[in-house]
Symmetry: C2
Subunit: 344 residues, 2 copies
């Protein structure tokens, strides 16, 4: 493997010319090229939309879910759910560093990958024996490859690894919310799915970036109680995000008007129209859910004659890992919600 | 039909609570509510992605395409391609105006709908007898309904109706490009699919909005010749937009660097990664193609560690119809490309 590409083209087996994320199959061999890094895998964190699809398909049968994950990794050389297209991330220990790797990692570093599993060459060697198939957190043994242009964050010493990993998994959300809010003056912000991981981070980031008022929308009373207790949102409201009229009404009742910025953090399909309807003219909708339909969003805004900017949530914003870890350390409400989710 | 909703909720038959665009089936009855408008349909303009899907599925058999369009409209009460989710628009004559309609239309006005066919209640009464199934332009008789919050543009007197309709169909693209470019100082702009309808409009809008340099990317020599002749782009380059590395190389060769703003106007799947790779750090990708995959865009940017803003192309921007018609009137290159496409 003498000639390597910083974006991993040399690992694509099929189809030729595709980037690793779009590839059907990757070469996951553990031998590394000069600018690559090999990790010894410790744990996978499956993307929420992916895990939900698998759990639903197999009706909660953990053994069947585990078998399917193993089959996907075996067939594709990466953990990319063929239905949702999404992956997740992983934690591992640096095992070998190519002499030309620009990532600045050293053998023995414990890191989380901040590029998706959907493009990370992966081999599983333990049959996922330590996983019951009932949680997104997957203890695993095997190897994974980082390319020259991959991104990995060293796990901090002051936080439990599973907590840091859960935070880093959604670190794009607070960073992008922060950036979007700088374009507004004390905006009103609605976060759909505000009690979840990316949702609670988005609320914390919105407050820090100078939001005038925030509302977290949740689907059930239990989550409303949790979010209220966390203190992360000025308002908390119950609504089914798939019901556009109900969602818009809930946001308007809480904020007294439509939201300047609406952030979609729930991993269920059909939330596009409600988010658009809940957003003010010249407002922005940030779609972070992998269940978002491009055409539903585009045609929905047009059909509602809604003058809103709609962003595809990009998981990469420079400084995203640092901001997310800082929010976790300084916002007790964020930490409490994350610890509670990990304990479930 | 006493109680009507400005966004058409009262016309949704299934599923309850959905907005018309997301609905499986609409009530297309010609009787109007107090804030509705009924049009006598003259012509449909199918969305390019939708027509391409139908033509490919039926291997170019026009009769089969016509039968399927009729079946879709009959079953759904609207022309929404079940595979692509997209619709198109229509031209008609105002036949009846409800007393509470806010649209300012009068009986006899010839108008184009600027909301998608995918949410417009539609009945076809002539079996599409005047259409050979081989073009996106569909002569048709029947009725269509506009809601309180729909958008329709009166067709201008100085332009042939089919030309005006073709322009209005893509009028969101130049308006959004114009808005995005105001956030940059003399940006470099790449338009993927620059010789097409939305592509040529995007190029003209980019130049008017102060682009430093523009490149139109096209897939075949014939289109390159057409675009060069039109004079709309500073540079013209050939590349397959589905090949990320080739696309990025073509953009960089033409502009001397990555694009600050990349506009995707081709209706084929798989262009997300190339557009991202062709765009500079802190640049913007505007996705106008209905063939765009949300997850491919989101995960692609993350996987490439690309700090780019990605916009879902919203077909509605205030003033969009006026800007597009003005570009058609004042840019001979735009008009020549549109007239040529209509003549094909």
């Amino acid at each position: 493997m003498a000639v390597t590409s910083p974006v991993g083209l040399h690992r694509v087996l099929e189809p030729a010319g595709a980037l690793p994320q779009a590839a059907v199959r990757l070469d996951a061999r553990p031998e590394i090229g000069p600018d690559e890094v090999r990790l010894a895998v410790r744990r996978l964190n499956l993307d929420a939309a992916s895990f939900r699809q698998l759990a639903t398909k197999h009706d909660g049968d953990g053994d069947a879910v585990r078998r399917e994950v193993l089959a996907i990794v075996e067939a594709r050389g990466k953990m990319q759910n063929p239905v949702t297209g999404s992956g997740g991330m992983l934690v591992g220990v640096v095992e070998e560093v190519g002499p030309e790797s620009p990532l600045g990692l050293s053998v023995g570093d414990q890191v989380a990958t901040l590029v998706s599993l959907s493009l990370t060459p992966l081999r599983i060697t333990d049959g996922l024996a330590g996983w019951d198939g009932r949680s997104e957190q997957v203890p695993a043994q095997g190897s994974a490859i980082l390319f020259g242009r991959s991104i990995a964050a060293r796990l901090p010493d002051d936080l439990p690894p599973d907590l840091a990993m859960a935070v880093l998994d959604v670190c794009g959300a607070p960073a992008l919310v922060h950036r979007v809010l700088t374009g507004y003056d004390r905006p009103s912000v609605a976060v759909i799915g505000g009690a979840g991981k990316s949702g609670s981070m988005a609320l914390a980031a919105a407050r820090r970036a100078g939001a005038g008022a925030t509302v977290g929308i949740v689907p059930v009373q239990h989550e409303a109680d949790l979010l209220r207790e966390s203190g992360l949102a000025d308002h908390v409201a119950l609504a089914d995000a798939r019901d556009p009229v109900a969602l818009a009404a809930a946001v308007e009742a809480a904020l007294g008007r439509a939201a300047d910025v609406t952030v979609v953090c729930v991993d269920v399909p059909g939330c596009e129209h409600g988010a658009i309807l809940a957003t003010a003219d010249r407002g922005t909708v940030v779609f972070f859910s992998m269940a978002t339909s491009f055409s539903a969003a585009a045609l929905g805004a047009e059909g509602l004659a809604a003058d809103v900017t709609m962003l595809v949530g990009n998981g990469y914003v420079p400084g995203h890992a640092e901001l997310a870890l800082d929010l976790l350390r300084t916002e007790p409400g964020v930490r409490a919600l994350f610890e509670r989710r990990l304990g479930e």
